[in-house]
């Protein structure tokens, strides 16, 4: 029963379309996590940033009737909070983990607060006139049988996410900024002595993670669902953190990691909706987390062996 459903969805490529949709927020948030991670700061506040952006973008998008304004506002708010994170962690010397933790609490609570104060609702807000992020239908190609389904009819943000992978590749490995970013992350003192403005680079790394987490959040409310539900990110920010490590801190690795995680949650959704599934959905949902721990162990063992051969 379940296998038939899955198989038929693979055949008619609807699983592929779902996979792309589910993968997009994970991928975007993970790229954000990647840049701050490379700059030497694990940003565990992705979840909170996404929630703030998700709320802002649907609120602004629906009230102005313009999805682009909504997305911009969401990203803007997310970047603003990232700068706040920078202020507290770099200037006030709060541990970056604690700062991220605080942002998560803030994002979860403050969006509920705003929802109740602005729209007078609790739990969820679905605007009567939503302005969703459009889907891209490519002329001619959309009519080609297989190719049409593969390439056409995806949300604009899916393409932005894939372009973002290329963008990050270039930014990190092909620009002077990327060199600075990596050196700040690996040896801040050495970077400082070479005259690299360490603090400024770290601020910018956090801001980039705000940009990508903001895009991810905006897509979740304004693209996937057309509504805001409290705590709607449901751990995507933490999944993204895991993807950063699973992808061995590399944009291409992160793309594959996001695909795996996206596949797991797409399958979990199918299993949940089909009665009498042979595998409980909880176990499928568990896969990403277990895989991440396994990957972490694998990388750690490899590191250890490397060290052993060096000495």
């Amino acid at each position: 029963m379940v296998w038939q459903t899955i198989w038929s969805q693979i055949i008619d490529l609807s699983l592929f379309a779902v996979l792309l949709r589910v993968m997009t927020p994970i991928l975007l948030a993970a790229l954000g996590g990647l840049i701050s991670d490379i700059g030497g700061a694990i940003n565990i506040g992705l979840e909170g940033l996404m929630l703030m952006s998700a709320f802002t973008s649907i609120a602004v998008g629906s009230s102005t009737g313009n999805w682009a304004l909504g997305v911009l506002a969401g990203v803007g708010v997310s970047v603003l909070i990232s700068y706040g994170m920078g202020f507290f962690s770099l200037k006030m010397k709060v541990d970056i983990i604690i700062t991220g933790f605080a942002v998560n609490i803030f994002g979860s609570g403050f969006t509920i607060f705003l929802m109740s104060k602005i729209f007078g609702v609790t739990g969820n807000y679905s605007p009567s006139k939503a302005a969703p992020i459009p889907t891209v239908n490519i002329p001619f190609i959309e009519d080609v049988p297989l190719l049409g389904k593969l390439l056409s009819g995806h949300n604009l943000m899916v393409w932005i996410a894939i372009l973002a992978v290329v963008f990050c590749m270039v930014l990190i490995y092909r620009t002077p900024y990327g060199v600075h970013l990596r050196s700040v992350g690996e040896a801040p003192q050495a970077a400082q002595s070479l005259g690299i403005p360490v603090t400024r680079i770290q601020y910018s790394a956090l801001a980039w993670s705000g940009v990508f987490a903001g895009l991810a959040g905006a897509f979740m409310s304004n693209g996937l669902t057309n509504m805001f539900v409290k705590d709607m990110t449901g751990g995507t920010g933490f999944l993204a953190l895991a993807v950063v490590l699973l992808g061995n801190r590399n944009p291409i690795g992160i793309l594959f990691g996001s695909l795996i995680f996206g596949l797991a949650s797409a399958l979990a959704t199918i299993v949940q909706t089909v009665p009498d599934a042979p595998i409980p959905s909880q176990f499928i949902q568990m896969i990403p987390y277990v895989v991440t721990i396994a990957a972490l162990v694998f990388f750690a063992m490899r590191q250890k062996r490397k060290l052993a051969t060096l000495t």
């Binding site: 006030m92 010397k93 803030f106 607060f113 104060k117 751990g235």
Partner: protein, 352 residues
């Protein structure tokens, strides 16, 4: 060695941070509420206005104190575990299983068994990230965050299937026998005996950390791992032990919450108690006595947020602003270094 004056400085710094955080909350209330005075008084006075509310504060404080202790222990050994939430679920799940599926025992034997099961469950689940950290140097922040999800999903599966209560559709176990639920201790309130357990735990953890050799070694590992290793301390073993103690305390927090409030294991019943514990430990500077004070204070703010929601036009999430500012200000090293430097300067002047 910290001099007593340094402690006074530290405490007054924390108090300043608390006051500033409360002021931030005030500002938001005054900016957004149409009846700010009613809101503020509901937030600060209503929790103490009746014995019933005081009882609620005590009940809320119990799991906060216990998870706060759990994280204090592990933070003191220099391991930044965020896994109390998962350990709480696994521990209390095993505890609840023991409570529901071992009927017919005398409560005097049964209750200790239930608590023991919760302690062991939490400790074993804590051992996983502990071992990974100690022997493979796997980042404990990530492993514990991942394991939290594993624990929540795993218990959710069991409580939806094998161990699901027969009555009703809600995902929970059968109700636990009334005989082993924690008794109410203050007449006219809902306050249960969990607060006594929490107080006892504060004492035990204090003695463990400051009066035993394991506690000494644990704190040395946290202060300077290399130094501790050269000094002959088995650092890896200590790290695993500290995460396991922490897990046991988290499991205790869960089972006490179940025996005192929930009456059985329900899917997702904790809703972040393990994360609240992080805040408590940070506010308390990882000191058990501080955890007691911080836990009570935090519970007071939570109950205040609820009474404010009833008594005014403000949603209770306003308390989140106070919580976030508390966390950030109390952990801002820049502020505390500044205070100490100022103090050192005035000291020098006094000597001259």
């Amino acid at each position: 060695m910290k001099s007593s004056r340094m402690v006074v400085l530290e405490v007054s710094g924390i108090l300043m941070a608390v006051i500033t955080a409360l002021l931030c909350g005030f500002v938001v209330i005054f900016l957004t509420s149409s009846e700010p005075f009613a809101a503020v008084s509901a937030l600060f006075l209503d929790p103490l206005s009746s014995w019933f509310n005081v009882g609620t504060i005590l009940n809320k404080a119990v799991p906060l104190i216990l998870t706060g202790l759990a994280l204090s222990v592990v933070f003191q050994s220099g391991v930044f575990s965020m896994g109390a939430e998962g350990q709480l679920y696994i521990g209390s799940f095993l505890g609840a299983l023991t409570a529901v599926y071992l009927p017919g025992l005398s409560p005097w034997i049964h209750l200790p068994l239930v608590v023991l099961a919760a302690l062991i469950g939490g400790a074993l689940f804590g051992a996983i990230p502990g071992l990974l950290k100690a022997y493979l140097n796997a980042n404990e922040i990530v492993t514990t965050l991942m394991l939290n999800f594993v624990a929540i999903l795993l218990t959710s599966y069991f409580v939806n299937n094998q161990f699901k209560s027969h009555g009703g559709g809600y995902a929970k176990m059968e109700n636990i026998d009334k005989n082993i639920l924690l008794a109410k201790i203050i007449p006219g309130t809902s306050a249960h005996a969990g607060i006594l357990i929490a107080l006892a735990a504060v004492v035990v953890v204090y003695l463990l950390l400051y009066k035993t050799s394991i506690g000494y070694e644990l704190r040395m590992v946290g202060k300077n791992g290399h130094f501790a290793r050269y000094g002959g301390i088995a650092t890896r073993k200590i790290i695993v032990i500290s995460v396991m103690i922490s897990g046991a305390l988290a499991g205790l927090a869960g089972i006490v919450e179940i025996l005192g409030i929930q009456q059985t294991f329900k899917q997702n019943f904790s809703a972040g108690l393990g994360f609240d514990g992080i805040i408590i430990a940070l506010l308390a500077r990882n000191h058990p006595v501080g955890v007691l004070v911080a836990g009570l204070f935090y519970a007071y703010i939570q109950v205040g947020a609820q009474t404010m929601q009833y008594g005014s036009d403000m949603p209770r999430e306003v308390a989140v602003i106070i919580q976030v500012m508390l966390v950030l200000l109390v952990t801002a090293q820049a502020i505390f270094t500044f205070i100490k430097q100022r103090y050192a300067k005035t000291e020098q002047k006094a000597v001259k």
